[in-house]
């Protein structure tokens, strides 16, 4: 049990564990002490000098990012001395800063802009010409605008301490100092360098991918979970015009800290893809498909199910990109129809890419977000490491065939030819689905609410960031309605209700609710957690 220390910050008493810094303690009483060089995920050089606060009894202002609290300390973050210091430091920053906010990618989410707006001088006093460094390509996804840099060295420290691949350094000294790469390749070949753009408090390091794409204030931020591997990094989807413009990590110390890998960060093109199934399609007697309203399509499907009757084997293929709710709804439907085989396929890479300075975070071998969920919900892995093959039985199955999300890209047009009933639920049309009697449009994870179960057995929620195309609906809703009508009960109306039902059916999820999961996620019963072998 850590010892607690009580101190006063701006007149408010606060108790924090011994060893806490003043900056963190101030955060607890809702006081944000402006800072640049301090980042909770890295060492603190205490060099930006913006976080200096007045500590009663101290001969001079103290850097709150490295000064730890002591009993009965009296700290002022808003005194004349503290504010005067910040004003002074901010003016120093603007001596050489180009103030090119109108063309700066960071504008609108820039700490320098915010701090100067809040506390800076209205008019700068510097009349001298500004120092000019110009622009440099750092390799990878990063462009460097030297003139905007505030020399906080977060980027250098990220590469040294967190990625532990020293690619950046400060060269020269005094106000000639500038961040630079060692060799021509710069950041090329590193796997986590996108994070240095995130930690840069100003627009000195910008993403080439995002450059000039959108202004910060035009972006909607939606909390989500990265779908690019089984780590389940907490992310934010930044959208505009119903398109994902970029992905940023969202803080979660249990999963990804403040970071995410470059692969996940840039793997969003498929979510923005334009050609989608937009209507429920029903195959007529002449094998021609006809778009229908949901009600009509579902009625026809239910009639078909009744015609087939019981006792016919069911085989289901699902994608581990589907949420727990979608997979759970599929499992329930299969169960209601009399049970059958349920499989999934997933791509894997040879090696994990571990973030050395935050070793619980890695780009996992398994490149799908919910394989753990699929396993827990009764799906079996088939196929190879490229998510191909393994469906020979299913392709020629003569019973009921349900495909959820798997694009069947390796399958021929004969797939499901012999099936009595072939239901294909997907976001994209597939040649292998040409025999499907029913093709239902699905939303992607970015268009629906839901949850994934990550490699550590942590269930994490994501929220819809984009509008679904046409009549696309989440899998849990479509399958939930089908199951409900077959059972003559009410269908779940929300993902939370769907999850609630799933938690009642599946032991691993027992007792969990959306509220428990919250923003940070919740870990399933440990014994049920699968490990990646």
């Amino acid at each position: 049990m850590a010892k607690f220390v009580t101190l006063t910050i701006d007149g408010q008493k606060v108790s924090v564990p011994q060893g806490t810094t003043i900056l963190e303690a101030a955060r607890k009483v809702g006081k944000h002490v402006p800072h640049y060089c301090y980042h909770p995920g890295m060492s603190s050089p205490a060099m930006c000098r913006l976080c200096l606060v007045e500590v009663e009894g101290a001969p001079k202002s103290m850097p709150s990012c490295v000064t730890t609290v002591t009993e009965d300390q009296v700290v002022r973050t808003d005194s004349e001395q503290a504010v005067g210091n910040r004003q002074g430091v901010l003016e120093f920053y603007l001596v050489n800063h180009p103030l090119d906010c109108p063309i700066c990618d960071m504008s609108g989410e820039c700490d320098l802009q915010d701090y100067v707006h809040e506390e800076g001088r209205v008019h700068g006093r510097s009349e001298e010409p500004k120092r000019v460094f110009g622009r440099d390509d750092f390799g990878g996804d990063v462009l460097f605008y030297g003139d905007r840099c505030v020399m906080c060295t977060r980027c250098v420290r990220f590469m040294n301490e967190v990625e532990q691949d020293q690619r950046l350094t400060v060269v020269e000294r005094g106000n000639r100092s500038v961040i630079d790469t060692f060799f021509e390749e710069g950041l090329e070949g590193t796997h986590w360098h996108g994070n240095i753009v995130d930690v840069c408090p100003v627009g000195a390091l910008v993403s080439k991918d995002f450059l000039y794409k959108a202004r910060a204030w035009d972006l909607e931020h939606t909390p989500s979970i990265c779908p690019s591997c089984s780590q389940g990094c907490n992310i934010e989807l930044h959208t505009r015009d119903n398109l994902i413009q970029r992905i940023k990590p969202r803080e979660n110390l249990e999963v990804n800290g403040w970071w995410m890998c470059d692969y996940g960060r840039h793997n969003y093109g498929w979510i923005n893809r334009g050609v989608r199934i937009e209507d429920p399609l029903v195959q007529g007697l002449d094998r021609a498909t006809e778009p229908m309203k949901w009600r009509d399509a579902l009625d026809q499907l239910l009639q078909r199910v009744e015609l087939i009757g019981e006792g016919i084997g069911i085989k289901a293929v699902a994608t581990p990109f589907a949420s727990n709710e979608d997979l759970g709804a599929l499992a329930e439907l299969v169960d209601v129809l009399g049970g059958g085989d349920m499989v999934y396929r997933s791509s894997c890479t040879e090696e994990e890419i571990v973030l050395k300075g935050f070793p619980t975070l890695a780009r996992r071998k398994d490149l799908a977000p919910n394989t753990n969920g699929a396993e827990l919900l009764g799906f079996t892995r088939v196929g190879d490491d490229e998510a191909r093959g393994g469906l020979d039985d299913i392709a020629t199955h003569d019973g009921v065939l349900i495909v959820l999300g798997d694009r069947l890209s390796d399958q021929s047009e004969d797939f499901g030819q012999q099936a009595k009933l072939f239901l294909y639920l997907g976001d994209e049309q597939s040649p292998a689905a040409s025999n499907a009697h029913f093709v239902f449009p699905l939303t992607t994870f970015a268009e629906q609410e839901g949850s994934f179960t990550n490699i550590a057995g942590r269930v994490q929620r994501f929220s819809p960031a984009l509008e679904a195309p046409g009549m696309a609906r989440p899998g849990w809703l479509i399958l939930g309605v089908l199951t409900a009508e077959l059972n003559n009960r009410d269908a779940p109306r929300t993902a939370a209700e769907s999850f609630f039902g799933l938690a009642n059916r599946i032991e691993a999820f027992a007792g969990l609710t959306y509220e428990d999961i919250g923003d940070a996620g919740a870990v399933l019963n440990e014994t049920l957690v699968l490990s990646e072998s």
Partner: protein, 430 residues
Amino acid sequence: MAYPYVSDVEVRIISKYFGDPAHRRIDTYIERGGYKALGKALTLEPEKVTEEVKVSGLRGRGGAGFPTGIKWSFMPKEPTRPHYLLCNADESEPGTFKDRELIRWDPHQLIEGCLIGAYAIRAQHVYIYCRGEFFEVNQILARAVEDAYTKGYAGENILGTGTTIDITVHQGAGAYICGEETGLMSSLEGDRGEPRVKPPFPAAVGVFGMPSTINNVETLAAVPHILMNGGEWYRQWGTEKSPGTKLFCVSGHVQRPGNYELPLGFPLIQLIEDVCGGMRDGNELKAVIPGGSSVPLINSEDARNCALDYEGCVEVGTMLGCASVIVMDHKTDIVKQVRRMVDFYAHESCGQCTPCREGSAWTARILRRIEEGQGTEEDLDTLMEMTEQMVGTTICVLSDSVAAPVQSSIEKFREDYLKLIRTSKQAGAA
């Protein structure tokens, strides 16, 4: 007359053999009583050695004036990890040239001091961080260290006592900031010479993360004499609070500039007029910087009332620093002088702390503008205000060193600035 200039009032203890090249040789040094203090120290308990230095009241000669014995006593008593003694020979303060001379003429005195110091703090390794530009000095020092090893004064089993102390001479690569104690440590470790935040202090976490003590060359050079003759002996010179002798590096517009070893508390005006033979060409004294370029400058009036010890300098609004007395006569352009100093600091700022990195370069530019006749009176207010933001707001005191000459010169020599500003206005009007 010997060694460029000497004076009868000098008390030459550490500078006794300045000007005698024979003294560099270890044999001569031993003949003249050298390394006896080391032999004596090794027979004592380390605490006893520290105690003797405490009694002497010796204060750090690098500029801060912290009592050396007390500094040594901060080191852990029972070493669980390696201890290091660092000797700061990165003498780079403009106007200072005492450490260079101490090593150049008497390298063994320093080596002996280092060995005694290392013994006192239970260090088995001494690093002498020597300014890289001192080519000759580095050669002399390297040779002397080699000789000390050969004669058994350094290395393993020193003088058969079983004590091991190694000495490494490290050459700096040309940065003023590496003379700052933690900057020196960063540099020694192979990193950029950037000062570190204190706490933790070097005695807890120093070079290579180990307990370390860092002393100036002049401090360590005095140690063998204190050990040999006792702490009380050293107190016969100087004042109660600033005991002993000190090398004064006098430069500027005096007849006989040079290094003079004098008791602390010596009157500044006497140093200028008697010891150094007065101002050049009979000119008038205008300003003095008594402690190296990073302390405030004082006018002739204050100079007349200034006693050269740590307290006396504070009384007239400046600091003793490393006692590098820069004397300026009435022909000096104070603005230009200050601008040149600020240019130096702007160039040497390591660039970590914002007030120093941006402030020093900005100050230099404003001063340059004033000097070139483009200044305004508002510039002086700006200078005063912005330099105020540079005092006590940074990791090390380099930024304070920019503020000191700027603020003190505007306060005491405002007329010099105004003259330049008025001339520029008249020129503009015409």
